[in-house]
């Protein structure tokens, strides 16, 4: 388990809420030009990459999946990631292009990838898998066919009830089938968001922030539920500060012009509840939000078994700070 140590780089999720209450809504917002580059090198970079690669080695089929017809899409993704990384961190990443012969260097890890752009036989891994292993994010490519999006390539190491192995080929609506929310006028939220995603055009990416709580674990996928399922019951009001982490997913939605797909990028960050004391205003806001989560939402997010203990922990923590 790792946590964010530079809180200036931590995306606190409850910044835009009303009446101290969190509810689901279609909250995708347009990105400004200075926010579009999702590359972020934090003090945890090396730890995260090491763990991500271990997961990909341990369970390659679970962690990475693609359809054979996605090769051209994968190269579009490679070009995007290399360009964004060099743009933001020219001191950490570089590329040399001699025609189609590309050499990408990751100076933090001291690694070099040499390949012929557009020729997957010049790599030992698939292009998407290769470049994705240099960045801590999870990457999903949802391809637009007819009026829906289908998961056709995915590399992931911070699953929240998700797995490339299980979800490959599913439509947006299938993947979000368990989302229990219906708007006041009876329209399913999932279908409304599908329609909204269809309006995301190339050149106009969007973003949103999602959050969850996780008990002593950064990754919960279907294939390992026998391990993490019971762990959720270990949480008490005494140990929640260490075990329970506020999990934040900063998400980017980028329409890829050649693939006609939406690239879904997740930057997942963790903060143990005890570290909320470092920012007292975050502590209070988190407490009020968690205290007010309806049962169906806690159930859907998988936090129901340890939510009451977490709320109790935060309440005690706030009271102890007031006493001081």
């Amino acid at each position: 388990m790792f946590k964010s140590t530079n809180l200036d780089l931590f995306t606190f999720p409850f910044t835009n809420f009303k009446n101290k209450t969190y509810r689901y809504s279609n909250d995708l917002v347009a990105l400004s030009e200075d926010k579009v580059n999702f590359m972020k090198i934090t003090p945890e970079y090396k730890v995260q990459i090491k763990r991500k690669r271990e997961m990909l080695e341990e369970q390659p089929e679970v962690r990475y999946q693609s359809f054979p017809h996605t090769m051209e899409m994968q190269w579009e993704f490679v070009e995007l990631l290399i360009d964004l990384s060099i743009n933001k961190y020219p001191e950490h990443f570089s590329v040399e292009k001699d025609g189609d012969q590309w050499t990408f260097t990751n100076h933090i890890l001291g690694e070099t990838e040499t390949f012929i752009f557009g020729d997957e036989s010049s790599l030992s891994l698939e292009p998407y898998d290769m470049i994705g292993r240099h960045f801590h994010n999870d990457f999903m490519l949802m391809v637009n066919r007819d009026d829906n999006f289908y998961l056709e390539v995915a590399q992931e190491s911070f699953a929240a009830l998700f797995s490339p192995n299980w979800n490959l080929g599913m439509s947006f609506n299938e993947i979000h089938g368990p989302v229990p929310f219906v708007s006041r006028d009876g329209v399913e939220l999932t279908d409304r968001i599908r329609k909204f995603l269809l309006t995301i055009e190339p050149g106009a990416p969007r973003t949103r922030v999602n959050w969850n709580l996780m008990a002593d674990r950064w990754d919960v996928n279907y294939e390992t539920m026998d391990i993490w399922g019971p762990e959720r019951d270990k949480v008490t009001a005494e140990n929640a500060g260490k075990l329970v982490h506020l999990r934040v997913e900063e998400q980017w939605f980028i329409r890829m012009p050649r693939s006609n797909a939406i690239l879904f990028v997740l930057d997942t960050q963790f903060l143990p509840l005890e570290d909320l004391v470092l920012r007292p205003e975050w502590l209070e806001t988190t407490y009020f939000n968690l205290a007010d989560i309806p049962d169906y939402m806690a159930e859907y997010k998988g936090m129901a078994p340890f939510l009451p203990q977490s709320v109790e922990y935060l309440e005690n923590l706030m009271n102890s700070m007031k006493v001081k």
Partner: protein, 320 residues
């Protein structure tokens, strides 16, 4: 690689294709590679006229993976709203044009076993890149293309040579006039997808015919030039979550009125064909002028496409 915003371009070359069609070659001012695109894609172009901006959508006709430039083909429409006339009469080599990223609301059906294209006049443009893609993928297709004469038929020789045996041309004003009809759709095998591009009347006729022949809705694809016209009544629109009541006058669309009032309403094609400007209707009867919604959807859903549809009576209440 570009990710956000619009792209500043300059006109590098202009070619006369037929008497009324010109091809404009656009190059990026910063010399960096352009985004590649998919067959059927278009761009929105913005030309600065001084007192206002001329905003128009045109299909791309350059190769989808040629990232050095884009090309568009524009027919000088005698009933031009100002767009095609301006491009033909005033745009010259060296002029600046802003382009959006390529967008595609007219994609090839992924599951199609065979693709059948029907073009009327300048409606040929999106099919040029679609056929390029299919040819590269080794998939089968055929083109039916109607024009007044061979001389007025843009890209006739190019198509005839490049895709031998796949193109059928119909010239209505030749010595032996021929008329393109929807009947040819009857002979296609199941699994075929049909695509229409042309004026509203043509697209409506082909769409109705395809449905009547039993084509599933998902196998029918189309793109329009301009929204259907009708009498433009003035009406009021109340936007409940913005606490605003806006007057829509006969000279403007509902979409224009919303944008003028500072409401960030979504839109794209402005022709009632793409569905991007769909908004929830809380109250009021809608005069649907799009061809995006099916009759069933019009009955079941309370929705309006703001770019072309209007209120049936004096007022609509919307939520966006």
């Amino acid at each position: 690689m570009r990710v956000i915003g619009n792209i500043e371009m300059y006109v590098g070359k202009i070619e006369q294709i037929t008497e009324s069609v010109k091809r404009f070659y656009l190059y990026p001012s910063d010399q960096k590679l352009l985004p590649a695109f998919t067959g059927g894609a278009h761009i929105t172009t913005y030309v600065d006229l001084g007192d206002n901006i001329l905003e128009r959508e045109y299909s791309l006709v350059s190769h989808p993976t040629d990232r050095t430039h884009y090309a568009i083909s524009i027919n000088r429409d005698p009933h031009s709203r100002g767009g095609s006339a301006y491009w033909h009469d005033h745009i010259k080599v060296g002029d600046k044009v802003i382009s959006s990223f390529p967008k595609n609301h007219f994609t090839l059906g992924f599951h199609a076993k065979h693709h059948v294209f029907y073009a009327a006049g300048i409606g040929i443009t999106p099919f040029l890149t679609m056929m390029e893609e299919l040819e590269a993928q080794g998939k089968t297709f055929e083109l039916h293309y109607a024009a007044r004469t061979k001389e007025a038929c843009a890209y006739h020789d190019y198509l005839h040579e490049k895709y031998p045996g796949k193109c059928t041309f119909y010239f209505s004003r030749s010595d032996e006039p021929q008329r393109m009809t929807p009947e040819t759709m009857k002979n296609q095998r199941i699994g075929s997808h049909v695509y229409f591009c042309g004026p509203v009347a043509m697209v409506s006729e082909y769409k109705e015919a395809a449905l009547s022949y039993g084509y599933p809705e998902k196998s029918i694809h189309f793109e329009l030039f301009a929204a259907a016209s009708g009498e433009n009544n003035p009406f009021l629109v109340e936007v409940i979550n913005h606490n605003k009541v806006i007057e829509v006058n006969p000279e403007q669309t509902l979409l224009e009125a919303l944008l003028d009032a500072g409401i960030e309403a979504p839109y794209s094609c402005k022709a009632g064909g793409c569905g991007q400007c769909e908004v929830d209707v809380v109250e009021g009867e809608v005069d649907h002028r799009d061809i995006f919604f099916s009759d069933e959807e019009r009955e079941q859903k309370k929705m309006i496409l703001t770019c072309c549809s209007r209120a049936k009576e004096e007022k609509l209440v919307l939520k966006l």
